[in-house]
C-alpha cells in the first residue's frame, strides 16, 4: 500500500482528485459516516507524489 | 515604611507596582494621565513592561494578553476612554482573566466636561459591556486608599479569577496627601492557569477564552453564577459612622464621602443626628450595612457628583424601599458641607419630596 486513507474524514471537496496528475484518485461508491461520497485511491497507479496529502484540508491521506 | 506626599493617581500606580503589576498599557486621558506617566518610568525600574497603546481599545486588549500569559497587568482610563474599554473588559470576565482596571471618573456625557465627577457609576457597577457581569469594584476616598486598593487588587482578582475595577474620581486622583508605601510584593507569573506554551505530550493545551465554547454551557453558567453569588456575599465592604441613632443617613463614596463624613461631624456638634454609610465596594454593594438602620430613621440621602443620583437605586434596593430615599446630586461640583447639612435638615423636617429614580 502506498497511501492510507481515513475516508470518514472526507468532506467531499475533491481537491485531491483535481490535483492528482496521474488520475489515481476517484470517487468511491458508497457514502462515509458523514454521508458524503469519499474518494478512493488506485494503489497501483499512485506514484506517491503527495499532492493529495498537500491539498486535503481534512487530513484524509497518509503517504506511507 | 517610607511615607511620601503624592497624588492619588500616582499612589494608585505605585500601589499596583508594589502589588506586583509588571505590565501596564494605557492611553492618555484627563484626569488619569498621571497613572500612565508614572507607569512609563516605574515599570522600567522594576523590570516590567509599559506600553502606550494606540487607543484604549488596544490597551485593554494588551492587558488581556499579558494577564492571560500570567503577568499581573492593568490599564486605566476615564470617562469616554473607560467606555472604549468595556468590550475588552467583558472578554476578561468571560475568560476568567484576573486583570485590573482603574477608572478615574470625570464629569459629563460623551466627551463631557473634564472636571471631577462621579458619573461612571452606572457603567461601572451595572455591567458596562455585554452580558451578565459585575466587576469587583473598589472605591478609594483618599490617596492612601488609592495605593492600598491597587496594592491589594491583583490578589482579590486572582482569588476569584475575576477582574477588579478601582473606581476613583478626578478629585481623589488629583489631590496630594501623605501616603505610606508598603513593601514590594513578589509574584511568579508562571501560574498554573497561565498560557506559557504546551508541548505535545505535556498535557492538555491551554485555551484562554470564553470557556462556553469548550464546556457545556449550562454547567459553565452554573459555576459562574455560583461564583458571582459568593462574591456578592463575601466581599461587601463599607465604613459606617453614627448610624445607630441617626435621623438621616448619608450614603456616599469617593470624594463625596469625605464631604459627607465632615458634614456628619459638624451636624453632630450642632445636635443634628446624621450618620454615614460609605460603600468601599460598589459591587458587591454593601447591602449588609443597611440592615442596621434604625426604624425611626427619617430618610437616606445619597451624595454623589452626577445629575441623576445614580447610586440611589442601589440604596433603594438595599433597604427594600422601606425608608424614603433622596439624592443630593451635585453634578460637577463637590458639595459644601453646609449645603449637605441643610438638605438633610429639610429631609428631617419632611420638606423634600422623595427623589425619583431615573
Amino acid at each position: 500500500m502506498k497511501v492510507k486513507l481515513d475516508v470518514d474524514r472526507c468532506k467531499g471537496c475533491y481537491l485531491c482528485i483535481a490535483n492528482c496528475k496521474i488520475g489515481a484518485i476517484s470517487k468511491d461508491d458508497k457514502p462515509n459516516k458523514k454521508g458524503v461520497i469519499p474518494v478512493k485511491v488506485d494503489q497501483e497507479k499512485c506514484v506517491q507524489c503527495g499532492n493529495c496529502y498537500t491539498m486535503c484540508p481534512d487530513l484524509v491521506f497518509e503517504i506511507l | 515604611m517610607e511615607t511620601k506626599i503624592i497624588k492619588g493617581n500616582e499612589a494608585l500606580a505605585e500601589g499596583a507596582v508594589r502589588g506586583g503589576c509588571r505590565f501596564y498599557a494605557g492611553y492618555p486621558i484627563t484626569p488619569q494621565s498621571e497613572i500612565l506617566e508614572w507607569m512609563s518610568w516605574r515599570q522600567k525600574e522594576v523590570g516590567g513592561v509599559f506600553v502606550q497603546g494606540e487607543s484604549e481599545i488596544a490597551s485593554v486588549n494588551m492587558v488581556f494578553a499579558a494577564r492571560a500569559l500570567g503577568a499581573r497587568a492593568m490599564t486605566s482610563s476615564s470617562g469616554p476612554g473607560f467606555s472604549l474599554k468595556q468590550e475588552g473588559i467583558a472578554y476578561w470576565v468571560s475568560a476568567g482573566v484576573p486583570a485590573v482596571v482603574a477608572c478615574v471618573q470625570r464629569f459629563g456625557i460623551g466627551d463631557g466636561y473634564i472636571s471631577a465627577g462621579q458619573d461612571n457609576y452606572w457603567q461601572a457597577v451595572k455591567g458596562g459591556g455585554n452580558g451578565d457581569y459585575h466587576l469587583i469594584t473598589l472605591a478609594p476616598n483618599s490617596v492612601q486608599e488609592c495605593l492600598d486598593m491597587a496594592y491589594e487588587s491583583f490578589e482579590l482578582a486572582e482569588k476569584w479569577m475575576h477582574p477588579v475595577l478601582i473606581l476613583s474620581d478626578g478629585t481623589i486622583g488629583q489631590m496630594m496627601e501623605p501616603c505610606t508605601m508598603p513593601v514590594m510584593k513578589e509574584y511568579d507569573m508562571d501560574q498554573p492557569w497561565a498560557a506559557k506554551g504546551t508541548a505535545i505530550g505535556e498535557g492538555e493545551n491551554k485555551v484562554i477564552t470564553d470557556i462556553t465554547y469548550f464546556q457545556d454551557i449550562d454547567e459553565w453558567n452554573a459555576g459562574y453564577i455560583e461564583k458571582m453569588r459568593k462574591i456578592q456575599k463575601d466581599e461587601q465592604r463599607w465604613e459606617e459612622f453614627n448610624i445607630d441613632d441617626a435621623d438621616v443617613i448619608l450614603v456616599a463614596y469617593g470624594i463625596s464621602s469625605r464631604v459627607a463624613q465632615r458634614s456628619v461631624e459638624i451636624a453632630r456638634k450642632k445636635g443634628i443626628k446624621l450618620g454615614l454609610i460609605r460603600p468601599i465596594t460598589l459591587w458587591p454593594y454593601p447591602r449588609k450595612a443597611f440592615e442596621k438602620i434604625n426604624k425611626n430613621c427619617k430618610g437616606i440621602v445619597t451624595l454623589e457628583m452626577n445629575m441623576m443620583g445614580q447610586m440611589l437605586e442601589d440604596v433603594k434596593i438595599a433597604v427594600s424601599c422601606k425608608f424614603p430615599c433622596y439624592a443630593l446630586a451635585t453634578a460637577q461640583k463637590v458639595a459644601p458641607t453646609d449645603e449637605v447639612i441643610a438638605f438633610c435638615q429639610k429631609v428631617m423636617d419632611g420638606k423634600v419630596k422623595e427623589t425619583e429614580v431615573f
Binding site: L15, P57, L59 | I57, T198
Partner: protein
C-alpha cells in the same frame, strides 16, 4: 515508510470543523507542520482572531488566547513583551486584521513588534454569512454588496502591501493555497516569518489567499481556480520585504 511519506503532525489533534474545501484548514495544517518541524509547539502561544479562522482552536493542540475580534496586533505586542522567549503568532481573518483591527495591525507593524501575523484573505466575512470585507474585490457579489462592489458605493478594496511596503518591518509576503506549488510557497513563507521572530528581526506578516467555497458559491475546485485566475492576477504575489 518511504522518503516520500507524509503524515499530518500530532498537533492536528482531531478533525476540524471547517466546511468542505475550506482554506483555513489547509493553512492550519501548514502551520502545524512548521511548528512541528521547528520543534516550537511548546514555545508558541497563538493569538486567535474571531471568525471562521478561530476554529483552529478545536483541532490544534497549541496554547491559545482569544481577545476580541481584530485585536491581535495589540495582544501579540503584549504577549511578546511579557514572554519574549515565546513565539507570538496569530491566525487572523482579513476582516479582523484589516477592518476592525486595522489600527492594531498597523500600530504593531509601525512599532516593528517582534511578532508574526498570518492573515487569511478570503475576500469576505465568512462566519457571518459572506458580507463584504475591505478585501472584497471590485465587482464581487457578497451578502452586503448584492449587486457587486463598486468604487462609487463601497470604495476601493484593501491591499496590505500598499499599506506596509515602506514600513521598517522584517517580512511581508503574499501566497495562496490554490495548488501544491502555492502551498509549498506558503509553508516556506510561514517558516521564514517565524524565523524572523526567532532571530529578533521584528514584525512579519504573511497574507494567504484562501478559498471560501461556501460563501463564494463555488465548488471547492472552482474556488481554487478563482484564486489562480483572479486573485493571484490582481494581487502582487511573493515576498516584498525580507530583512
Amino acid at each position: 515508510m518511504s522518503n516520500r511519506s507524509k503524515k499530518a503532525p500530532k498537533i492536528m489533534k482531531c478533525e476540524n470543523k471547517f466546511c468542505a474545501g475550506c482554506g483555513h484548514s489547509l493553512f492550519d495544517r501548514i502551520l502545524g507542520e512548521v511548528l512541528t518541524e521547528m520543534n516550537i509547539i511548546g514555545e508558541t502561544i497563538v493569538c486567535s482572531d474571531i471568525g471562521c479562522n478561530h476554529m483552529f482552536q478545536y483541532s490544534m493542540a497549541v496554547d491559545v488566547i482569544v481577545p476580541p475580534h481584530g485585536k491581535m496586533g495589540a495582544a501579540l505586542t503584549a504577549q511578546k513583551r511579557v514572554r519574549p522567549d515565546k513565539y507570538a503568532i496569530t491566525i487572523a481573518g482579513d476582516g479582523g486584521a484589516y477592518a476592525i483591527g486595522l489600527a492594531e495591525t498597523v500600530a504593531a507593524a509601525t512599532r516593528n513588534e517582534n511578532v508574526t501575523m498570518f492573515v487569511m484573505n478570503n475576500t469576505l466575512y465568512a462566519m457571518t454569512g459572506g458580507q463584504a470585507a475591505p478585501t472584497t474585490q471590485l465587482g464581487q457579489i457578497s451578502a452586503s454588496t448584492p449587486k457587486g462592489r463598486t468604487e462609487k458605493d463601497h470604495g476601493l478594496d484593501f491591499d496590505v502591501f500598499n499599506v506596509m511596503r515602506n514600513l521598517d518591518i522584517a517580512y511581508l509576503a503574499r501566497t495562496s493555497v490554490a495548488n501544491p506549488s502555492e502551498i509549498r510557497k506558503t509553508k516556506n513563507a510561514v517558516k521564514k516569518a517565524i524565523e524572523k521572530q526567532r532571530d529578533n528581526k521584528g514584525f512579519s506578516l504573511v497574507e494567504v489567499l484562501v478559498p471560501c467555497p461556501t460563501n463564494w458559491g463555488l465548488k471547492p475546485v472552482d474556488a481554487m481556480k478563482r484564486i489562480e485566475n483572479e486573485l493571484m492576477v490582481r494581487y502582487e504575489m511573493g515576498e516584498i520585504i525580507d530583512k
